[in-house]
Amino acid sequence: MWNLISIELFKVFRKPRTFIAFAAISAIVGLIQMGFYVDGESYIKFGMQALSDSFDIDGKVLNGYLLAYIILQTLLIHVPLLIALVAGDMISGEANMGTLRLLVTKPVSRDKLISAKFLASCIYTLMLLVWMAIWALFVSMLIFGTDDLIIMKSELVTQIIEKDTFWRYLAAFGFAALAMVTVASLAFFLSIFAENSIGPIIACMSIVILFTILNTLNLPIFNIVKPYLFTSHMLAWKGFFDVKVNADNEQIIGSVENIPAVMRSAGILTIHIIGFWAGSIIAFRRKDILS
């Protein structure tokens, strides 16, 4: 199996389009970091204005952890497009090139072939998330240093002490990877049915946009399906930044306020991934290669 996966990864990383996503993430994160480096203090001062009237705030509010949170929140909405670019091309791109028929005539079962391609898409997605973590977290820590993380939400302000923050990012990036693998598996599933990669990429993004819109509409008819939509769970990584407090309103180190909710979201995303994988295998088994 590893032989097949390595062949697929070799092909993926020989295609120029693969590097668009890495370049785009580097450029976007770099721009955000530059913007905050030049003008970040005034931006933070403005944001903390209401808070400064009631509390004495010292230390570095604008630090690498805060920037990583801002970047993660912004980028994860757009990264699915970059992932669909590659995952949506895995089968349909081969069909379009005409190489799919040559692949299927090789002494490798269709199930293994599709699984190798699927896992290669997942590995690509994970590599993209690692790349994003390097830029968004480690480079930000290098440029802006570290301190306590202060997150302002509409109704409350959470302060997470510095020594209790790093592992939360690792968990958050891990969860984000799961969310992005779900998008990759959807794009991959759609690519089975197409003869060129444009169709699955657009279809995947349309589904993500449609489900995201459904999530924002607070109508009873949509509320029934919301818990089952994968987009409802893609931002559950934020749960790692909700901490428990003791009776003195002090943070409990290493705590997560609602770990069952985060785990439930992870479970639903995993079910989606397995479903898309199984669907891809079944669809490809029955497919007549006419391209």
Binding site: K11, M97, R101, L102, T105, P107, D288, I289, L290
Partner: protein
């Protein structure tokens, strides 16, 4: 000779359309089998079924004595193919393409093997060039190298001369001849170029509208000692009736209206002509035809052939 390919009652339907209908044939070891038919006759569909790209609606395929759908991987390990166009990864080099498909075929490629295969098809000097800059002929040759990289005993080529210039066609012919003669490969080759097929095939299968119409050894079908005579008479029905009732009746071939086609020995042409005239048939013309193209057209579209003559 042992049978390498045996197809039994193979059919494929796409919706209501019967692409292949109850097709049965055999290819023996060492054959260069020409698989002929007009556009849409079902050649490519049959070849795709042989390579497991398409599932048959009914029927069975045995290759090297094994059921294709039960022993798929075992059979495909020993089969190489070029299907219609030699589509390869344009963003990879010739050597990289060959290496990818060698690994997929279950062998560990090394530089010596890759260069050896590229040399066989005359592409050794272009091993590091990306395929996107290759001409159609070069891609076709690389496609053959991909088909041969795991040294299969059976090679299936679907329209291997498509898009090639005359030199490319000649090169392909030489390559196919060499694969059969020097390497003992069994080849199933579909092509539109009948004159080329005539020069390479040892066995012929002709299909029309999904069904087989002829199967046999080339030497039997296009026997140089025999000739197909196309007889046109002013009273064609009488001519056909007389031939069917005469001692020549067993040599009558399927033919178009108004024309009688008969296969006779070269030496018997004067005898046949004399008997025809003595029988009172007003002979307008007797045309000999013994090329594959003429034979093919007479079988697949006799009316058109007569009109074109």
């Amino acid at each position: 000779m042992p049978t390498i390919i045996e197809i039994q009652h193979l059919s494929k339907k796409f919706g209501d359309f019967h692409a292949v209908r109850d097709l049965s044939f055999k290819v023996n070891k060492g054959d260069v089998c020409g698989f002929l038919g007009q556009n849409g006759a079902g050649k490519s569909t049959t070849i795709r079924m042989l390579l497991t790209l398409i599932r048959p609606t009914s029927g069975q395929i045995f290759i090297q004595g094994m059921d294709l759908f039960k022993h798929r991987n075992e059979i495909l390990k020993n089969t190489g193919a070029v299907i219609e166009r030699p589509d390869l990864y344009n963003y990879l080099t010739a050597a990289e393409n060959l290496s990818v498909f060698a690994r997929l075929s279950g062998i560990r490629p090394n530089r010596k093997l890759i260069m050896n295969k590229l040399e066989q098809v005359g592409l050794a000097e272009r091993s590091t060039s990306k395929v996107k800059i290759f001409s159609q002929g070069m891609k076709q040759r690389l496609g053959i190298a991909v088909a041969m990289v795991h040294d299969p005993s059976l090679i299936i080529l679907d329209e291997p001369t498509n898009g090639l210039d005359p030199q490319g066609i000649a090169d392909m012919r030489n390559l196919i001849n060499s694969l059969s003669r020097d390497f003992g490969k069994t080849l199933l080759v579909s092509s539109h170029l009948l004159s080329e097929m005539e020069q390479i095939a040892t066995r012929l299968i002709i299909i029309d509208r999904g069904s087989k119409i002829v199967e046999g050894e080339m030497k039997d079908l296009l026997d140089p000692e025999h000739v197909m005579l196309e007889v046109t008479a002013s009273n064609p029905d009488l001519c056909y009736q007389w031939v069917c009732q005469s001692s020549w009746r067993e040599f009558v071939q399927p033919s178009a209206k108004n024309v009688t086609v008969i296969k006779v020995q070269q030496g018997n042409i004067p005898v046949f002509t004399r008997e025809l005239v003595l029988a009172g048939i007003d002979v307008v013309s007797i045309k000999p035809r013994n090329t594959l193209e003429e034979y093919f057209l007479s079988l697949t579209n006799p009316l058109k052939n007569v009109e074109s003559n």
